[in-house]
Symmetry: C4
Subunit: 275 residues, 4 copies
């Protein structure tokens, strides 16, 4: 065998391990990668905690470099092992993968630029891959289907809410004015969203009696409004939960086909369903 062929073999094997999930090595690679992503995000998180960073700065930096090197090798392997590297490099995940290692190398030249490792948090999106594993699959498929089915209604609903929000925000800006914290219409809109979604920070809140009256109205409106997306999603989930994929065949004698899942005889005419 030529050396070239050896390299091709290596590429193929790398591809199966990195991109595939059907082999044991492929699944192990996925698990290690997910663990390292979590660890890297934890590192970035802890670095932003002033006290912790002050005490363990050198250890954090060391671990950062270890992970950066591993991610760099992974990045190069992804490029090498695939047939059309550019497709990966300019894909969503390809760009994130690059941005999550680049700032560390940049920090060698530009002091402080390693703060951009925060981008690494986006690598967490890879964790959604786990949801395709068998034990979660049936659950997430159900949810996904229900959420997809409700998307149309939800968009119409959000469109409606946004218009309402702008109108109420403008009214509150006029009624309350800058003295109460409603410094501009966008601020009024921000307050309206905070109120309608029942978050209610209290950083801006009406102080004039008339403003409080309108606010009360908005809150009771919010009562009704919050019911709508819940209603949409619930109805879809209920539908997808009760509609189990049919396993039973229709009865060969009377044609009835709404048998229970474990039925062995037709509940209408008594014919065996198993034959």
């Amino acid at each position: 065998m030529s050396k070239k062929s050896n390299y091709t073999l290596f590429k193929q094997r790398a591809y199966i391990i990195i991109y595939g999930t059907s082999t044991k090595a492929g699944r192990l690679f996925d698990l290690i990668l997910l663990a390292l992503i979590l660890l890297s995000v934890l590192l970035v998180m802890m670095e932003t905690v002033a006290d912790f960073n002050a005490q363990y700065h050198s250890q954090l930096i060391l671990l950062e470099w270890v992970i950066t090197v591993f991610f760099s090798i992974e990045y190069l392997m992804r490029i090498i092992s695939i047939d059309k590297p550019w497709k990966y490099i300019f894909s969503f995940y390809g760009i994130i993968d690059f941005l999550s290692i680049f700032p560390m190398y940049l920090s060698l030249v530009l002091v402080g630029s390693n703060v951009f490792t925060v981008v690494r948090a986006l690598r967490l999106l890879r964790l959604f891959k786990i949801l395709n594993h068998p034990q979660f699959n049936s659950q997430s498929v159900h949810l996904k289907r229900a959420i997809n089915a409700s998307r149309g209604k939800i968009i119409v609903f959000i469109y409606f809410v946004l218009i309402i929000t702008i109108i109420i925000g403008s009214i509150m800006y006029v009624v309350e004015g800058a003295a109460s914290g409603f410094t501009s219409i966008p601020a009024g809109i921000y307050w309206t969203i905070v109120t309608l979604t029942t978050v209610g920070y209290g950083d801006i809140s009406p102080v004039t009696p008339f403003g409080q009256f309108i606010a009360s109205f908005v809150m009771i409106l919010g009562y009704g409004i919050i019911a709508v997306p819940t209603g949409i999603v619930t109805a879809e989930i209920a539908k997808s939960t009760t509609k189990v994929p049919k396993q039973t065949k229709p009865c060969t004698v009377c044609g009835t086909d709404d048998h229970q899942d474990n039925a062995r005889f037709c509940y209408k005419c008594g014919t065996s369903l198993l034959s």
Copy 2:
């Protein structure tokens, strides 16, 4: 053809473009109008942001005038092209259309009166027209039907909540008093609504142990209460969602077409549906 007839033709064409949506020009006019409404609201919004306004004041005013002129032409065209102009002028939209252009002209005489252009936000209501377009229609029809069906129950529910609110608000005013911010019964009612809807600004909150005990009770009551509108809307949406498109053909004799799925005879005239 006389000149008069030419004018009539112009009126008719204008009517079709402005009020209709069946021609290409009509739909285009709608889209441009909606875009301009959005832009005009954006302008009014940005004008209220002090920093932005200071920097781009002249540009904002210029754009305002451009839009005002366009809206004025649209307003005149709406009056001219319709058969009964007064019906439009004193309709809800007619008044809003007038109020959204008038303040700008007034500002030429009365400095500062252009702040009333805020009324323009109400023109956003025209954006709901989009929901009648085919691709949104089926979704919004579903939602509208469900919301209409729940209206009766929602009104009874809000009536109930308002009474509860006044009673709890009065009790809290007595228990907490002005020192805790419960300066009057209306303030107490405002607090009760803020709490029952789980908004919880925190601008007024109980400080005495007994007040906090009642507040805890109110919050747990709110738990149950928030479930009611959600339940009402969800039940209606679920009903309108599960009403699957009918497979049964309409009756050949009387034309009734809302038969049960397994119907073999028309429930109205008794004709067989299978033949």
Copy 3:
């Protein structure tokens, strides 16, 4: 006719007007009473608003006396017209009716005791009577039935929530301590209820990282918990909405009885249902 008999007649008529709703006079009396109750509550409310009270004090007091006199007459009439006066006097509504007029008379002797007219807010409960009127009845019956049906599950749920609340409140008291506002276990429980119900005033909020971690856990728990009462009520409303009381009789030929409400012929065998 003797004078006694005249009095009996008067008593009977008064009874029909005051307690009944079947005559026109009876319904009118109810409406006037409800309007006066609303007015009286409004008066008490406005009296607590310092600015308003300062300006219109004498008018408010005058109106208060007018209403008090009317309520006193109503109270006496209720006692006179009924057969067993003590039963009314010591009933829930009887006591409230008394307490809503007594403080005004007491204020003649004891200055300032008219603040207790706040009790009048409880008379608002009489407003629920309206819900028995025909146009609301079907709606409120539906709601009442659904809420009654869910009562058992709701009690079990609240029992569960209260225990969780005490445990979490105790833990937060230990973790956060008095410095963060968790001055005692009851304060911790109050905070837990504020958080679990997603009200979130922010008067007490965790400041230590570990406290915030537990708080995050409690909030995500609250996510799941708020779903439970909603689910209970929704399921009951959905059931009571879809299960309309049956008007159709079963088919005399084939016995099928799940006909549509307006069915005139059996959908299975075509027999007339009206004969």
Copy 4:
């Protein structure tokens, strides 16, 4: 009978009373124990209220000792009456039972260690035992079944929410920074959870326009997200509620009794159900 045999009899009787619920004495013991647990938790609670403790300190301590002695006797009885004492001692409840009496004895040696009696709150978990009593059973069984059935979906959902939370928290940390209270990424994550769950304390809230814009987006996202667990639980409760008690009789041949409502033949063995 020997003394040994008497002791065995005593052990058996104690076992039936303490661990069992089938005898009257057993149920009475349970009730008294639950009441004492509630009382003991109340004591610990009141002790943390500074004012109350200052006034009634000696009485509280006395009552504490009474309850501690009772709990100690109960603890010893539980060990004596069971066949495998170690199994109880190292069980979850065994450890809690020990930890709820130990601190009081320790306080004799180590002043102030009785603050750890807070652990006693965990004994409240024994109150869940009541839910197994007949009158609550059917309700809690329903709820438990629905919650168990939704567990899989809820876990997938929380997994999803946590990832979203970390990503949004990181973004907000970068956008707002320490000046607005977003001192670190964990603080940003805490804020995101507070916002997504619509709790909204307001201890941390965005101040920059761009931060407020992202926050608005997060809140509207939260709208949709809160709908999901509600939808999941509602769908399950609706399913378990609509499964109405069966009207069909069990099959006379194989005893199967979960037939469809209109079944005429057993779906398991084909025997006619109508005869």
